[in-house]
């Protein structure tokens, strides 16, 4: 067990109690979806901003694991280990 840091974009910080950063305890080999489930359990509106009700990551939301976009890894099945850092960023969209 150990901690994972989740960096929250400014626009979503009001939905997680104003925090710029969340820290979660993770077991070995926890998939990203489980972490997001845990955060959504505590902060449901935040959860709906990041993923839709099918559990899919929203199209213009990117999550980076230690600098790598998770879609280029194993998506929501990407294994997360203690000590790693997740950064959530909205991608380019809109006009």
């Amino acid at each position: 067990m150990g901690e994972v840091r989740i960096l929250v974009p400014t626009l979503l910080q009001p939905l997680v109690g104003g925090s710029a950063e969340l820290r979660l305890e993770v077991g070995a080999g926890a998939p990203l979806s489980e972490l997001l489930d845990a955060v959504a359990g505590e902060f449901p509106v935040f959860g709906r901003r990041v993923r839709d009700e099918t559990g899919k990551l929203r199209r213009y939301v990117n999550i980076y694991l230690d600098g790598d976009e998770v879609r280029r890894l194993d998506g929501l099945e990407t294994q997360i280990a203690a000590g790693q850092e997740l950064m959530i960023i909205q991608s380019v969209a809109g006009g």
Partner: protein, 374 residues
């Protein structure tokens, strides 16, 4: 007096509320004369606002908005203090049940039911679906009758997406509801939403190999007559129609209009057979005829039309979208609309003359107006 939108007739001394949903946020205005407004906004900057309802039932003013962020998705929020604060149900007011495997894309319509059905609010959404709330729009339940409809695989998407964009509960009969979708056309339920039948007889579909198919039309908007609930009006993707029999058949009433294309159609909240349209030249030429915006009104069920242009700016190359126009319930009735060029007009004389009350906003997607008690 009740009307089909669930609002009460407005009395003198009422404050007039105007809500304008755009591609980049919501503006809320109040006025004593429907000509001069004080606006707040943008609320929800950078979120599009395709649907708004002003629910004045139960002695309070609730503003419901369907909003959608390109990044963060769609949701429904409501305010009971004219936009000073907003609430959003934690689990979402509208979320598809897991067994559907679907996700909400956009809330196209929020429609309070009539005043004698307090708490009931309907929604029409993308993907094509109808929803019903019995708690003033805080939680909605998917209508399974329409969701499981055998025609579903044959419904298509208009340019804006595949959506149920209009939901009209009948004030005369709680079991009768009309829905319009693009594309699919008009469907009616007479059993409270358990089952739905297409009701497009007479409505054209110029983009299909069959001119008047049973369903598949791209009906852009329908509106119900306030005093004759069995009378409906439709602005089609080509064609303006009236039905005298609850949608069983439709008669083209476009003669006398400069064009039969358009998106919006409105009915008078108190007077029978009065309706307004704002024509667009054609499917392939989506500007007002001759580049001049005009509001056309019939007072005789579509037998004749009168054009009103007083106060409308020229030239105008932008269209008025299906929900970017509304009437209030005051007397005389106010008519309000906004263009994709971001100009919002108000009329305090039943659409005969207008003043621009907002300019250079983002594309106007939805306009709603009501009298409220402060």
């Amino acid at each position: 007096m009740k009307n089909s939108a669930g609002a009460q007739t407005e009395h003198s001394g009422t404050t007039h509320l105007l809500a304008v949903g755009t591609k980049k946020g919501l503006w809320l205005g109040t006025s004593s004369d429907r000509q001069n407004y004080v606006f707040t906004g943008p609320h929800f900057l950078m979120a599009e606002i395709p649907s708004i309802a002003i629910d004045t039932r139960e002695g309070r003013t609730r503003i419901l908005v369907g909003l959608r962020s390109e990044h963060w998705g769609p949701t429904v929020a409501h305010s009971d203090d004219l936009g000073a604060t907003w609430d959003e149900p934690e689990r979402g007011a509208i979320t598809f049940p897991p067994d559907t495997g679907s996700a909400l894309e956009r809330v196209w319509q929020i429609q309070p039911d009539s005043a004698d059905r307090p708490g009931v609010v309907w929604a029409g959404c993308e993907p094509i679906s109808v929803w019903k709330s019995t708690d003033n729009g805080e939680h909605f339940e998917l209508n399974r009758g329409l969701w499981d409809h055998p025609h579903r695989t044959e419904w298509g998407a208009g340019y804006g997406g595949a959506a149920a964009h209009t939901v009209l509960p009948s004030p005369a009969d709680p079991t009768t509801i009309h829905v319009a979708m693009s594309t699919g056309g008009v469907y009616r339920s007479t059993d409270g939403g358990a089952s739905w039948q297409p009701r497009n007889n007479g409505i054209g579909a110029s983009f299909m190999p069959v001119d008047t198919p049973e369903f598949g039309q791209c009906v852009h908007k329908i509106a119900r007559d306030s005093n004759q609930p069995e009378v409906l009006f439709a602005q089609n993707h080509g064609g303006v129609y009236r039905s005298a029999n609850n949608g069983d058949s439709w008669d083209n009433i476009a003669q006398g209009l400069p064009a039969d294309f358009g998106f919006t159609i409105l009915t008078h909240p108190h007077r029978s057979d009065t309706a307004w349209v704002i024509p667009i030249k054609a499917d392939a030429e989506r500007i007002p005829p001759e580049g001049k915006l005009a509001v056309h009104r019939t007072d005789d069920g579509g037998a004749s039309w009168t054009s009103f242009t007083d106060g409308l700016l020229e030239p105008e190359c932008n269209v008025v979208l299906r929900d970017a126009a509304a009437v209030d319930a005051a007397s005389p009735v106010g008519l309000f609309f906004g263009t994709r060029g971001g100009t919002v007009y108000a009329s305090a004389d039943e659409g005969e003359s207008f003043v621009p009350v907002l300019r250079q906003l983002p594309d106007v997607l939805c306009v709603r107006a009501a009298g409220i008690e402060l």
